[in-house]
């Protein structure tokens, strides 16, 4: 049977007809589109370098840093670009990347997985990133009472009537400690030489002047227990100071330190679909400085040893601890020579001279059979056995008894 074709492809993933219809008829959801046209944020008159979107992210990150927010949600995360910035903050423990476009998230969700350098450069604090699919109008208890919710360049994509619902959901129900909202500053548009009523992006439903944005913010703070500070990103050219910044934003701070306990929100309801969730590699904190220092000592002694072996053929190198102390990587631990000697003594590979001033390191294995192919004409032969002569074969008793059936031999 051929399934019913849903005309609107954006909701083709709906589970059933009901979901499809309800989502389709919901004006808030319907207007949620990720646009493909470039948003106008520069012109011949004004150019931003770095591009404005980077400056904007940087500014929001700056706020997150100042506030040391540990739990952050990014609404309208789209391609998870902002998450790339957030995940580098070492104090953040939890990032929720939320969007309503499941297809988009599914194609982008892997962007937030740890990269090779995240594995090398392990974090000191744990971090989980979860990619959630859902609407801000629904309530998901995981996002309640976060340190910060960001809605970057999102509000102007809403129908004007829905802005109120958006504020109610955000400030009234999710009640994060902080909210950061950014939106275009319409006053600035004169510098783009727009047609009347033209907006920066085809999907913008409105763009606010600085005054309109302030009114919105004040509306929020009278209704909900928040206060706000305005900021701007993208300064105008000096001869056009009056138009204000290209992009405007506000940081809202919750006034009540504790939330009322009456709310429904206490019950765990996880309505957002988790499309992807990943924990970042964390460094092992149980390791002591001595552990790291010991490894550093072995490493540096080996390096010196192998270089001396290469150059002079020294099978044993004597390294003075005073010399080791000149290495920045060892010097940073600020320990005494005696302590280094003590650590070296405890290792398997290093020995310490009796006077305790130098470390002995052996550059060739003890086994005499090893440098079998040590003469230099042989140096690049690929010997059949593994390199340093592990010739200790597992001896499983008598050799196999051969019972060859007559094959090739008689044919010769």
């Amino acid at each position: 049977m051929i399934p019913v074709i849903r005309q609107d492809p954006r909701f083709a993933d709906a589970e059933d007809e009901d979901e499809y219809q309800s989502r389709r008829s919901n004006p808030l959801i319907r207007d949620n589109r990720t646009c493909r046209l470039k948003e106008v944020e520069s012109s011949d008159l004004v150019k931003f370098e770095p591009p404005l979107y980077i400056q904007r992210y940087a500014r929001v990150v700056e706020h997150c840093k100042t506030g040391q927010y540990r739990t952050i949600a990014d609404f309208g995360t789209a391609e998870l670009t902002f998450v790339q910035y957030l995940k580098n903050l070492d104090f953040v423990n939890q990032i929720f990347a939320v969007d309503i476009d499941r297809n988009l998230l599914n194609s982008q969700k892997h962007r937030c997985r740890p990269q090779m350098f995240d594995h090398l450069n392990k974090r000191s604090e744990p971090l989980n990133i979860s990619v959630l699919c859902g609407s801000v109008l629904e309530f998901d208890s995981r996002l309640h009472d976060l340190d910060c919710i960001c809605a970057i360049e999102l509000i102007e994509h809403l129908q004007k009537d829905d802005v109120e619902k958006f504020s109610a959901a955000l400030f009234g129900r999710y009640q994060p400690k902080n909210v950061i909202i950014t939106t275009p500053n319409k006053d600035f548009n004169v510098l783009f030489e727009f047609e009347p009523d033209q907006m920066r992006h085809w999907d913008h439903k409105f763009e606010w002047t600085r005054e309109e944005f302030r009114t919105f913010c004040e509306g929020v703070t009278t209704k909900y227990d928040y206060k706000f500070d305005l900021f701007g990103v993208g300064d105008p050219p000096s001869e056009h100071q009056t138009v204000g910044p290209c992009s405007q934003g506000a940081v809202f701070t919750r006034q009540a330190s504790k939330l009322g306990s009456s709310s429904l929100e206490k019950f765990p309801t996880e309505v957002y679909e988790t499309l992807y969730s990943v924990d970042y590699p964390v460094e092992d904190k149980s390791l002591t400085p001595d552990y790291h220092l010991t490894n550093e000592i072995i490493y540096q002694c080996n390096q010196i040893g192998i270089a001396e072996y290469q150059e002079q053929g020294d099978e044993i190198s004597v390294i003075s601890i005073a010399h080791l102390q000149t290495f920045p990587s060892i010097d940073q631990y600020r320990v005494s020579d005696a302590h280094i000697a003590e650590l070296a003594r405890a290792t398997e590979h290093l020995r310490v001279m009796e006077d305790g001033l130098s470390i002995l390191v052996q550059n060739v294995p003890d086994s005499p059979s090893a440098p079998y192919w040590g003469f230099s004409d042989e140096k690049n032969d690929s010997p059949p056995a593994p390199y340093w002569g592990f010739s200790d074969e597992e001896n499983d008793g008598a050799g196999p008894s051969y019972n060859y059936h007559v094959g090739a031999e008689e044919l010769w």
Partner: protein, 843 residues
């Protein structure tokens, strides 16, 4: 509400870098990546030609510029999964039958489709035409009937579903209505090229997306299971290499266990360490870093270091589009990274990019503090501690390896999404790895003096103890005609050498005793050469005792003795003459000297006579863009005397162009030595990649045949390509345990390929880890011999490499050819003197 303009770009951190990605290593236009950049004609008709094109590079590469590429590579590169028939014609069988049968396992999973359900290939058209490949791909997700069970490259769609409806209306995000039309072009049957391709794409997706593996080049690694070796600043990521191919048995998923070595030190730490060690020697720092690959901390990119700039520091300013900015501020601003060391030198990476069709060299400065080192340095490789510690993890014995292989399947089964993906395409992976049968050849007896024999240790495949006997088949008459050149400091060692030589040489049956010593003032190369040149003793061979492994000195001595003053030479590092190991080292050296002067050490019994065995290998000249080919041919029935010649090919070409000349010269030499031409010529060709097989067959084989056809009676010809770096492993079933197969094991079923005449041989034994077999691919078999013969010959020839009292991984002629090409490519950079052509001077 969740809509944000796309204006912000897809990847802010990368976009801000202002540093282009370096071209991938070996940027051959292959694989899937290539197809992306080429917008294919949107409304091309679904002709047969189109249908034949595959998802990968073919779609893009085939119409683009096939003529521009060197011949040979084209076809293989053109379709990675299309398999060319290289098997010689008119063969009854490619399998042997001799030897003791054995039951083994091999590292392959069988891959089948449930109920042999085919996949379907559709050609897709868009109305209006969509130029944007990404958009085309995105729109496919809007077809609900596909339920995400499809692979689409922009033109061709593969799905396990047979669609009833072939026209779909979709809408772009900008509310444009688009009609998608599908035309069924073919059913993709299990085992076809397209099937293989689709299966590979699916498997790659599963590895990357569902198993959480990180892709590095063609392999997949799991950083979450990393093993730290902190004292060497190394981490090991366990991982897999896999590929799906059609073999003679069925479609198999070949899986190999790999370990990626990751270094955890930054370039700055590494430089500081060299700095302290060498007390501030900038040349040393540059020497160690140039050529190294570094990975940046912030954008996961890798760069080759081309230079170290000691005159620039991070606090210096650099000119960007937006104006001048210091490196420190740049990193702070763009990546929120604080550079701590303000005075570190910078690394330079040069890349060539095309701007409007013009090659432009770009130079990128990198701050060492934010770069991780990758790969092992030569110093690290020569450090037994590191190699030992690594071997502990990387050398897995058959039991462990088997477990790890099954672990791969288990982790697919554990991941719901991965299993779902496999199921949705009806793919099934066998629960156990593949059974395969092998045959063990009888152990060889080593032929020694006066036709005597010496048994080869069956388990180790070595005959070390041979040196305790007077074994040498024939000795070169060295007597006292050899000179030891050394510095005054080393005269003691030189005397030890002479004494030991007189003891061990005659004991082995080598006529050597006496010899004279020439002392020189310094260990500079010129002093050695002057001493060799002005030596009045007119020795047959000169021995140079050198204090260390310095390459330039070695090169200079070899250059002099191989070109300017043709004279066999032996270089020996003095430290090897310490009392502990002098005996064993000098024994080896004396044997080597004997071989270099034409003495015969040992042989194996090969009943067949009048055969010339030829080994060919290539090596890339370290000093130039050329590559050198080594050609070595046996001159007697015992395979103890060889004729050699080198050839040169332009830039990195593996193919050898002057084989006709080489072969003609070898045949002439054979004739002048034996008074007749050989009845058979058996060529073993090493150093050929999979992609060049066809070119080898078309060019090299043709050249050899031309040379042979000029003889009065053209000899029989067998041409075999030998490959050491292969994926296949075999595990011998011994009761409930798995062990390495014994030396002499032959496998020529199941994991061989229908379109080839190929077999696997395990000639050697390993103490640790799992043995890697050697692959033999017979391209020419114009002979009355049987497959059994070539299998046995290959094994026999592994015994007679004079530098090793045991079996080696390839036939001795290949190893000799390698040694020759290596010596010429690394040290000589010119053809050696033809006067030496009949000696094994390159040993």
């Amino acid at each position: 509400m969740a809509a944000r303009g796309r204006s912000r770009g897809r990847s802010a951190p990368a976009a801000a870098a202002g540093t282009p990605a370096p071209a991938p290593v070996g940027a051959a236009p292959r694989g899937r990546g290539r197809a992306r950049g080429v917008p294919a004609a949107a409304e091309a008709p679904p002709t047969q030609q189109l249908a034949a094109m595959n998802i990968g590079a073919q779609a893009a590469a085939a119409p683009a510029a096939p003529a521009a590429r060197p011949s040979g590579g084209v076809r293989e590169r053109g379709s990675r999964y299309a398999q060319i028939v290289l098997r010689p014609e008119n063969l009854e069988t490619t399998q042997g039958s001799g030897g003791r049968p054995m039951d083994m396992l091999t590292n392959y999973f069988q891959l089948t489709i449930k109920d042999a359900q085919p996949f379907y290939q559709y050609h897709v058209t868009f109305l209006p035409a969509m130029d944007n490949l990404k958009l085309r791909k995105a729109l496919m997700y809007q077809i609900p009937e596909l339920t995400n069970r499809h692979i689409f490259d922009g033109n061709l769609l593969y799905t396990p579903l047979k669609l009833q409806k072939l026209e779909f209306d979709v809408r772009t995000r900008r509310d444009e209505d688009v009609k998608i039309g599908l035309v069924l072009t073919q059913e993709v049957a299990q085992g076809s090229d397209q099937f293989i391709q689709v299966a590979n794409i699916l498997m790659n997706e599963i590895a990357n997306r569902h198993m959480g593996l990180e892709r590095i080049k063609r392999d997949y690694f799991n950083p979450n299971k990393s093993i730290t070796i902190p004292q060497h600043k190394i981490e090991l990521y366990p991982g897999y290499e896999f590929s799906i191919r059609r073999y003679s048995h069925s479609v198999l998923l070949g899986l190999d266990i790999k370990h990626k070595i990751i270094r955890t030190d930054t370039a700055l730490e590494f430089m500081n360490s060299i700095m302290q060690r060498t007390r501030g020697n900038q040349t040393e720092i540059a020497k160690e870093l140039v050529g190294a690959i570094v990975m940046t901390k912030y954008n996961n990119k890798t760069y080759r270091v081309d230079d170290v700039d000691f005159n620039t520091k991070p606090s210096d300013e650099v000119e960007l589009k937006s104006g001048r900015i210091s490196y420190i501020d740049y990193y702070q601003k763009n990546y929120d990274i604080t550079i701590r060391d303000r005075n570190q030198p910078l690394l330079i990476h040069r890349s060539k990019t095309k701007i409007q069709g013009n090659q432009v060299e770009r130079q990128i400065h990198l701050v060492p503090e934010v770069c991780y080192m990758t790969g092992l340095t030569d110093n690290m490789r020569s450090d037994y501690r590191i190699m030992q510690d690594l071997a502990q993890y990387t050398r897995q014995d058959p039991e462990k390896r088997h477990k790890a292989l099954l672990g791969f399947r288990e982790s697919i089964m554990e991941s719901g999404a991965a299993t779902e993906k496999l199921n949705s395409w009806g793919l099934e992976m066998s629960p156990e790895i593949l059974d395969v049968s092998g045959r063990q050849q009888p152990p060889e007896n080593i032929v020694i003096k006066n036709g005597g024999t010496f048994p080869c240790d069956a388990r180790k495949e070595s005959f070390d103890n041979i040196t305790r006997k007077n074994f040498v088949i024939s000795s070169a008459e060295i007597n006292d005609c050899f000179t030891v050149v050394c510095t005054a400091k080393d005269t003691g060692a030189a005397n030890t050498f002479l004494e030991t030589v007189a003891k061990v040489g005659p004991a082995c049956g080598i006529n050597i005793r006496g010899g004279n010593i020439v002392t020189i003032r310094s260990d500079r190369a010129e002093d050695y050469i002057t001493a060799i040149r002005t030596n009045e003793a007119a020795p047959k061979i000169v021995v140079c005792l050198v204090p260390n492994n310095k390459k330039d000195r070695y090169d200079a001595i070899k250059k002099h003795c191989c070109i300017d003053q043709p004279l066999p030479s032996q270089v020996l590092v003095t430290k090897n003459l310490n009392p502990k190991k002098a005996m064993s080292v000098v024994t080896k050296v004396v044997m080597q000297m004997n071989a270099k002067l034409g003495g015969e050490l040992w042989s194996v019994h090969i009943p067949m006579k009048k055969v010339m065995y030829v080994g060919i290998d290539t090596y890339h000249d370290s000093g130039s863009q050329r590559s050198v080919g080594g050609f070595v041919a046996s001159m007697n029935d015992l395979c103890t005397r060889y004729f050699s010649k080198t050839t040169w090919q332009p830039s990195k070409q593996e193919l050898i162009s002057q084989l006709e000349v080489c072969m003609t010269d070898a045949l002439k030499q054979y004739h002048s030595t034996n008074g007749l031409y050989p009845d058979r010529v058996i060529v073993f060709r090493d150093g050929v990649g999979d992609g060049q097989l066809l070119a080898v067959k078309e060019q090299e084989l043709r050249d050899i045949k031309t040379a042979l056809s000029r003889l009065p009676k053209s000899p029989e010809l067998v041409f075999v390509v030998v490959t050491k770096r292969i994926q296949q492993r075999f595990f011998l079933k011994q009761g409930s345990r798995l062990t390495n197969p014994p030396p002499g094991t032959i496998v020529d079923t199941k994991v061989t390929r229908d379109e080839l005449f190929d077999f696997f041989l395990v000639p050697q034994s390993v103490g640790q880890g799992t043995v890697t077999p050697t692959h033999y691919n017979v391209l020419e078999f114009q002979t009355t011999l049987k497959p059994d013969h070539i299998q046995r010959i290959a094994y026999k020839l592994c015994h007679i490499y004079f530098n090793w009292t045991g079996t080696i991984r390839v036939p001795a002629v290949c190893q000799y050819a390698h040694k020759l090409a290596f010596l010429v490519g690394q040290s000589l950079h010119r053809d050696p003197s033809p006067q030496l052509a009949n000696l094994l001077y390159y040993l």
